[in-house]
Symmetry: C2
Subunit: 491 residues, 2 copies
Amino acid sequence: MSKKLTKREEDYSKWYNELVVKADLADNSGVRGCMVIKPYGYAIWEKIQAELDRMFKETGHVNAYFPLFIPKSYLSKEAAHVEGFAKECAVVTHYRLKNAEDGNGIIVDPEAKLEEELIVRPTSETIIWDTYKKWIQSYRDLPILVNQWANVVRWEMRTRLFLRTAEFLWQEGHTAHATRKEAVAEAEQMMNIYAEFAENFMAVPVIKGLKTESERFAGAEETYCIEALMQDGKALQAGTSHFLGQNFAKAFDVKFTNKEGGQDYVWATSWGVSTRLMGALIMTHSDDNGLVLPPKLAPIQVVIVPIYKGDEQLETISERVQPLLKELRAKGISVKYDDRDTYKPGWKFNEYELKGVPVRLAVGQRDMENGTYEVARRDTLEKETVSAGNIVSKIESLLEDIQKNIYKKALDYRTSHITKVDSFEEFKGLLETKGGFFAAHWDGTAETEEKIKELTKATIRCIPLDFKEEKGVCMFSGKPSKGRVLFAKAY
Amino acid sequence: MSKKLTKREEDYSKWYNELVVKADLADNSGVRGCMVIKPYGYAIWEKIQAELDRMFKETGHVNAYFPLFIPKSYLSKEAAHVEGFAKECAVVTHYRLKNAEDGNGIIVDPEAKLEEELIVRPTSETIIWDTYKKWIQSYRDLPILVNQWANVVRWEMRTRLFLRTAEFLWQEGHTAHATRKEAVAEAEQMMNIYAEFAENFMAVPVIKGLKTESERFAGAEETYCIEALMQDGKALQAGTSHFLGQNFAKAFDVKFTNKEGGQDYVWATSWGVSTRLMGALIMTHSDDNGLVLPPKLAPIQVVIVPIYKGDEQLETISERVQPLLKELRAKGISVKYDDRDTYKPGWKFNEYELKGVPVRLAVGQRDMENGTYEVARRDTLEKETVSAGNIVSKIESLLEDIQKNIYKKALDYRTSHITKVDSFEEFKGLLETKGGFFAAHWDGTAETEEKIKELTKATIRCIPLDFKEEKGVCMFSGKPSKGRVLFAKAY
């Protein structure tokens, strides 16, 4: 398989698909819409998981595990929720196969029909609130701050690796509180944690905001979100945190005795990020040569490639490299020494460029003589020669610098792609020619929102948290507006 | 809910169920046969995961993720495999619900029927080997050493928390090799890793062995296993590692070009342990007061309970405890200071005994005056008074000692419960009165094995790896036998 990628400006979507497969991140499987996450892709996901899990635990959350299956009747208990998820779910109806009577293969055993169908969880609010009913009696049992790492299934018709798959991996936090205020604060806290993670680890700048009513989670009173901007000018929702009010507590009859001895319904939040983050990571930083990874999430941070002829020369190089490997590992830097003789140095350079390894060292005969390494950084593709004595501190500063640099690059791109528009014509034009976010006045109605979506495919990504009151008129309807919201086409 | 448990000798099975629920490890859910793993139970599972994951990676394995669903036709490709799993599987037949036309609730949409039914994975050999076909062309692509942490579903009719549930969590390793020898070595290596983990971390002694043909994994040529012995004299299979020969490579047509340029089928292994380990952990060590946990897997290793009257006294105690907490945490010891005023010290003592916290410190007025702590160890329930100056080293040595002591206790029990028997009458009698493993001669036929199972419910747990040739006659059939195998009743 050729390692060459389609160029982004030729076909961004094709470039993305090729990159995901060729960089060994994921691949399509034999099951419609379900992906295989390959070891290199999964190693990045494990790093994402580890950091988020740490952040969740530092803020008092604990992990638990709830059933994969949701009885059909549970899903129906919250009206908006079932409306949102019933149309695209995997339904288990039988619990046995048997040999066909005509001897032709194996069939579903009609006698093994379930009394009640089970839905493969698209999200776990219902099964979890059915459980919380058993856990919560008194204010002393609150808050409950639980998270779950799990797989979920939504029967999407058009799927794309990481961005939209029938099955995906995610975490879903589900918390229970004694007061509205506490629950709102939790939902906001988790949005902030997601934003911090996106910016500091993924190097992806995000805009924090609120979803409009029509874009809210099915069953939520308020949905907080973080929105990122991809290189092709399309937005990507990178995480959501929902204030659920008392909707699920009422649907599952979860009350608690408050300090005054009265009975109250419990207040709830839920929040999640998924393997979609992999898509955001890839599309924010990568280039026509392949992946560009932030050092904080790169499975391999440094690769060292020896350039040699014959075993003897390799041995001399290896002797020099061994102490360096040891020193870097002792500093917690993950480094790979690729001395395979089955591939040439040029092939390896391309391979690690494709895979986004942040720093590449090469060492050949001349470097041995001069006591140097050739150092290349993946983000800018710049090379320099560094003396062996300075190599460790050079690597350390490069890793920090790459992390900062790719963030800054993404931030600059985004800053130059938030455009104020005041007329619908201007909006439509720039949406096609420039892309990005558009700060525009909106009259606050779902009707206008829907119309704009129909005509342009753009949606309101969020009402930014730093929303400023500014009198104006809706760019579409001309009706009065209180301030600007952010429109964009989105993944 | 009363925290008192049924006594083990009264009703072992009832004791187990109560303990699992009351110690907050897991609970039944609203979905038949599926459990909720509660935060305290999940915290133990996370420690199990972390250690195993480290051991897998140290031996060159990487993680990946494969689809939850398996097309029905895949399952059928390996004859023994489908025979083993088709009778108890969850089958997805539809991908949408809709509102009933009579307005009465929500129903499965008959128009959203899948062309081919999907099985919720009971194990992933088939979907993985379908994928490996794409990954493997040449000997250079081998070995593949992949592990997956996942949920699986087997539609068991009689379920028990952790021991047998319709859905459970596990890891499944799936490796591909160029030679039979390499694959056999891998299967043996993983059995050894499981044994090392069981003994060094869970403090559960295990016997390594081979399964007989009738007890083998569906599709394996050889199944290696580790067998543990519970306090009630029943065995528990704690982990299995399968040498799969070329069965799955042939079923999915996975060949590779060898070094000589010829085409060979790939050799395979698979291996797994599951949340069943939680059952083994609980039943090996716990007592009538609750859980006993090995310090290496205890989420809380040390708890400190202040005994005080009034805020002022609590403050003095807390001031003394803070530096100790800091010192213990710096040493990587997980410690909880429970200064809640909503519960009395006696209630807390019972609570932490029930939850198996290895070391408990109490500090009251007299301890403050004398500069001491009262230290209690969970395994023996012994208490002593220790001066503040020695408390850290005391805790360290206690944690080590408890880990060793509970292992030794379990080993002593097992040693005294491996009984040599030579007649079937003796076997039947001791099986009921004493329990444990029975080393007996067997004629090597599946027929005899089946008969013994019918008559006694005991099965051959394994042919121990240290099997010694010893001429004898089968205790049941009187036919010649080459050596003793291990029988037991099992979970």
